[in-house]
């Protein structure tokens, strides 16, 4: 099914190539976009339909030990959303059944992403110790090309290197770590705070607070990792989950972090959770204006929003103290897992409700960030699935961005207690265009990820394409693509999932100075419980994405 194919007469939204609703054919052969195909090629009439590159999710949690711990915690969600195997086309291998909910099973995750027109997904937080599990789960997550970010920055070995001022060795160490884990990018969560929670610290940590040593601070960790990503020419900037997630006044921390890294490429993730000002009485209020203003003025900064959507969610993060505090305040069930020498993990099921003041504020803050952002290429779409809500809520989010009347109706229903001074409450008239939606869901994330062949439909690009039937209700349009093509294979036809090929693994393998291995091996022998030689995942099926 990778035969040549011509999509005829669709309205093409391909922002990377400057196409904004231009009626054009899109040709596919050998899994790539080509200029033309022979007349004998299969033709699919998509006249009147909207053609976009396949969706690219820059920040999700879909594969690995922590995700699986969340799955295990949610039997009631799974029982309410059993998913029979989709009926694929005759001759295709039988598909797999599974369970849905906010944390679906692996096969179901792949089918559902593809069913929304997403063809590339990144898991944003994998402890390298558990990398093998993530690869196995991604192997069982069909259709989408996928990779993951490696958790670093709260790890004992990096801390040793920073304490001793050995930044050069730190750079080679993270290169080794990325290669060993088969990861795609560096991810830091609550720099310093994850390890300090494991030491019993429950309070805030400032950027310049020493972490047991004057030379070791969150700022030093961020400096080291951002410099390493640059020096190693990684395709994606260091992916940063700032300190103080969820706390009133944390927008100051987020801004200080951005300023600390000023001039250097950095990606700030789920910034909605990091954009709260503090009112005089200590309660949260929107800090979106200040944060967006900074982002608008600093082209080196990129972000994904981490929109909260009303409904069930599962909070799942390496930021263990956040989950502890949520557990204590909510009384819901709680998982904490401390992961040796590297990181942590916390999980609490959650629900965002319109009538809850904090949830309403979070919903509003996320929308403000989208609607105030001047450059959609740098402020892209995520719900931090499943933290802010499921990826299945993306179509609804797209409607909220595109349809002011609908958004204002929704706004009337939410609890307004914390919305004083909110830009959205004051009235934001912006409506995203289809072109802007294509940017925040495809072209932008692909560019931020350094994936030159994704998020665009130019000749030579991966033939990952989604075709939607326009609908006045954009959430219907985006939830039910008519066609989805992945690597040239028509996986969704006439709205039905018909094929489920394996996706590719997206990973990098930056070179490192081999002389770092002897002391690293020695560290493993003294402190690790996994042998140094058993730690790397070894060769992967797909070639690494180039780093130069």
């Amino acid at each position: 099914m990778t035969d040549a194919l011509r999509l005829v007469g669709g309205r093409v939204y391909d922002p990377a190539n400057g196409l904004d609703g231009v009626v054009a054919d899109v040709c596919v052969e050998g899994g790539r976009i080509v200029a033309t195909v022979p007349d004998t090629a299969r033709r699919i009439d998509v006249g009147g339909m909207v053609v976009m590159p396949g969706g690219v999710d820059i920040h999700s949690h879909v594969a690995g030990a922590s995700v699986n711990a969340a799955r295990r915690l949610l039997p009631e969600e799974h029982a309410a959303d059993a998913e029979p195997a989709p009926a694929l086309a005759p001759g295709e291998p039988r598909a797999r059944s599974g369970s849905g909910g906010t944390v679906p099973t692996t096969f179901t995750t792949g089918y559902r992403y593809a069913g929304l027109g997403y063809t590339t997904v990144f898991d944003a937080a994998v402890a390298p110790l558990y990398a093998r599990t993530s690869h196995a789960e991604l192997d069982d997550t069909p259709i989408v090309d996928a990779g993951f970010y490696v958790l670093v920055g709260n790890d004992a070995y990096l801390w040793q290197l920073i304490r001793t001022g050995d930044r050069a060795r730190a750079q080679h160490y993270v290169a080794w770590l990325l290669s060993a884990a088969g990861g795609y990018a560096l991810k830091v969560v609550n720099p310093g705070g994850v390890e300090m929670w494991k030491r019993g610290h429950r309070g805030r940590i400032g950027l310049d607070d020493p972490l047991g040593s004057d030379s070791l601070t969150p700022r030093a960790i961020l400096d080291t990792l951002c410099d390493a990503a640059e020096a190693l020419r990684l395709p994606h900037a260091t992916h940063i989950h700032c300190n103080d997630l969820g706390l009133a006044g944390n927008v100051a921390t987020t801004l200080a972090t951005m300023q600390a890294l000023s001039g250097r490429r950095a990606h700030f993730t789920h910034i909605q959770f990091h954009a709260y000002a503090a009112a005089a009485d200590g309660r949260r209020m929107s800090g979106a204006r200040d944060l967006v203003e900074y982002i608008n003025q600093h082209p080196e900064v990129s972000a994904d929003v981490g929109q909260v959507m009303f409904g069930p969610a599962t909070t799942l993060t390496a930021d263990g103290v956040v989950e502890y505090l949520l557990y204590k305040s909510s009384g819901r069930k709680w998982v904490n897992s401390d992961i040796e020498l590297e990181t942590g993990c916390g999980i609490v099921p959650h629900a965002y409700r319109e009538r809850q003041a904090v949830a309403a504020l979070q919903w509003v803050v996320g929308l403000e960030l989208f609607l105030l952002a001047a450059d959609p290429w740098r402020v892209v779409l995520s719900t931090d699935h499943p933290n802010g809500g499921s990826f299945m809520a993306y179509p609804e989010l797209m409607r909220l961005l595109m349809d002011r009347a609908y958004r204002d109706e929704c706004l009337k229903r939410v609890n307004a207690t914390l919305l004083q001074g909110s830009a959205l409450a004051d009235g934001l008239s912006r409506e995203y265009t289809l072109n802007e939606i294509a940017i925040v869901t495809r072209a932008g994330p692909a560019r931020l990820l350094g994936l030159k062949h994704k998020g665009q439909l130019g000749v030579g690009a991966d033939a990952d394409i989604t075709v939607y039937m326009p609908n006045p209700d954009q959430s219907v349009m985006f939830a039910t693509p008519r066609f989805v093509i992945k690597s040239g294979i028509v996986v969704v036809e006439e709205g039905q999932l018909r094929r489920a090929p394996s996706g590719r693994r997206l990973h990098v393998r930056p070179a490192h100075d081999r002389t770092i291995e002897a002391p690293l091996r020695s560290f493993f022998e003294r402190h690790a419980t996994v042998s140094f030689d058993n730690y790397p995942v070894g060769a992967l099926r797909d070639d690494p994405v180039p780093t130069t």
């Binding site: 195997a85 369970s99 558990y130 093998r132 401390d338 040796e340």
Partner: protein
């Protein structure tokens, strides 16, 4: 020392759930002659690397293809088959087995439903605060061996919990307070504190302890449990990081009454309570053979760690509606395929499997308890003859390497079987 042809280093052992990956295997003439650093359980698990390599149909030698065909026929003809993931399988095999169960609309279970049933359900209802073994090694200054028999986890002390010098425990054993709580097991040798708890008071003692740690009022009034708990609470609150290691499968032992069903829930509540005024975790110790892998893979594919039924075309969780053993006894399933080491199954389960409607694929299958069934096929043992992955009891994945030639690959056989049924 016998002659050694070669040594395989950093080999992972599945003798117990600790899955030590530092074993040096010496090989001579195609046989294991030494398992360096392995404990007695590990040495027994590796053996000499020899393994039966037969395939049977109705107890008689037959080719692998004929045996696979017989199993395929058994599954195809069954109204509702049971597929049982026994210990001794790699995660790669487990992934194929869940797919096979989905394809056959089978009931699917593993040993967790008979060994850690209540604890697993409790962890789903309450959550848990846990940690990897390396956290214990590097951070725990207070280690509670909660009814752990040292003989079941021989290297736990040396490698993970008590002796090692840790990053935050630079004085190793001298920097740790070790508390042995004894309910049924022998007391932990060399502990600093020995706390006997009558089996009937165990759950109450844990519940009171959790309450005392969080400063809430215990539901249980004064009594033996209270005395135990208050003494323990004082000790635990002096710790920076408290690791409670508890044998999650104590019923595997013959001595003593089985633990109360509320034990698992009480321990998980304790795990959470450890984190209000100090930090801590409960680590559930598991026996060998990649049991954790079976739970993990079933969860990843089906959404549930045990007791799954694909009969309706999608996974359904049935822990409260019986597990493999009761499905067999009620006649809900009319055929059984065991994948893995059938000798690790409990006698109750084995007694309920009808030879005429059963088959087994796994290491030592033709020499095991289900060899007389419809078909039996010996497979490679993952980690000796076949490569793959296993999960340690804390779900840390470790590589298994095949370093000896042996029976056919279990992965290949399961893939062939799936293709036959398709």
């Amino acid at each position: 020392m016998p002659t050694v042809d070669r040594v395989e280093e950093h080999v992972t052992c599945l003798g117990c759930g600790c899955a030590c990956d530092d074993i040096d295997i010496s090989i001579h003439a195609g046989r294991i002659v030494d398992a360096g650093r392995a404990c007695a359980l590990g040495a027994a698990w590796f053996g000499d690397g020899s393994a039966p390599d037969r395939s049977l149909v109705d107890g008689l030698d037959a080719g692998v293809d004929a045996s696979l065909a017989a199993i395929a026929e058994l599954l195809r003809r069954a109204r509702h088959p049971l597929i049982f993931l026994a210990p001794g399988t790699s995660c790669e095999v487990q992934r194929l087995v869940v797919g096979l169960a989905d394809l056959c609309r089978a009931a699917l279970d593993n040993v967790s439903s008979s060994t850690v049933f209540h604890s697993l359900l409790a962890s789903q209802e309450i959550g848990r605060a846990t940690a990897t073994l390396g956290e214990v090694r590097n951070r725990a200054d207070t280690v509670v061996m909660w009814d752990v028999d040292a003989a079941r986890y021989p290297r736990l002390a040396e490698r993970y919990a008590i002796e090692p010098i840790g990053l935050d425990v630079p004085n190793g054993r001298h920097g740790r307070r070790v508390i042995s709580v004894t309910v049924r097991a022998n007391t932990w040798p060399g502990a600093d504190h020995h706390v006997p708890v009558p089996p009937g008071d165990e759950v109450a003692a844990v519940e009171v302890l959790a309450a005392l740690l969080t400063g809430t009022t215990p539901r249980t009034g004064e009594g033996p449990a209270w005395a135990v708990a208050s003494g323990l609470a004082d000790l635990l609150l002096q710790g920076r990081y408290v690791a409670v290691l508890s044998d999650a499968e104590p019923s595997a032992r013959t001595a003593g009454p089985p633990p109360a069903s509320g034990r698992g829930a009480a321990l998980w509540r304790l795990s959470q309570a450890l984190n209000d005024r100090t930090r801590g975790a409960v680590i559930a110790l598991r026996a060998g053979g990649n049991r954790t892998g079976a739970e993990s893979v079933m969860t990843a594919h089906a959404g549930y760690p045990m007791a799954v039924d694909f009969a309706g075309g999608a996974p359904r969780y049935r822990p409260h509606d019986g597990t493999a053993s009761t499905w067999l006894s009620r006649g809900e399933v009319d055929a059984a395929l065991v994948v893995g080491d059938a000798s690790a199954l409990g006698p109750d389960l084995l007694a309920r499997i009808s030879p005429a409607a059963s088959a087994v694929i796994g290491p030592g299958a033709t020499a095991g308890p289900l060899a007389k069934g419809r078909a039996a096929i010996d497979t490679a043992r993952a980690g000796v003859h076949e490569s793959g992955t296993a999960l340690r009891l804390d779900e840390v994945p470790l590589p298994l390497r095949g370093f000896l030639s042996g029976p056919p690959s279990a992965v290949d056989l399961l893939a062939q079987l799936t293709a036959l049924i398709r």
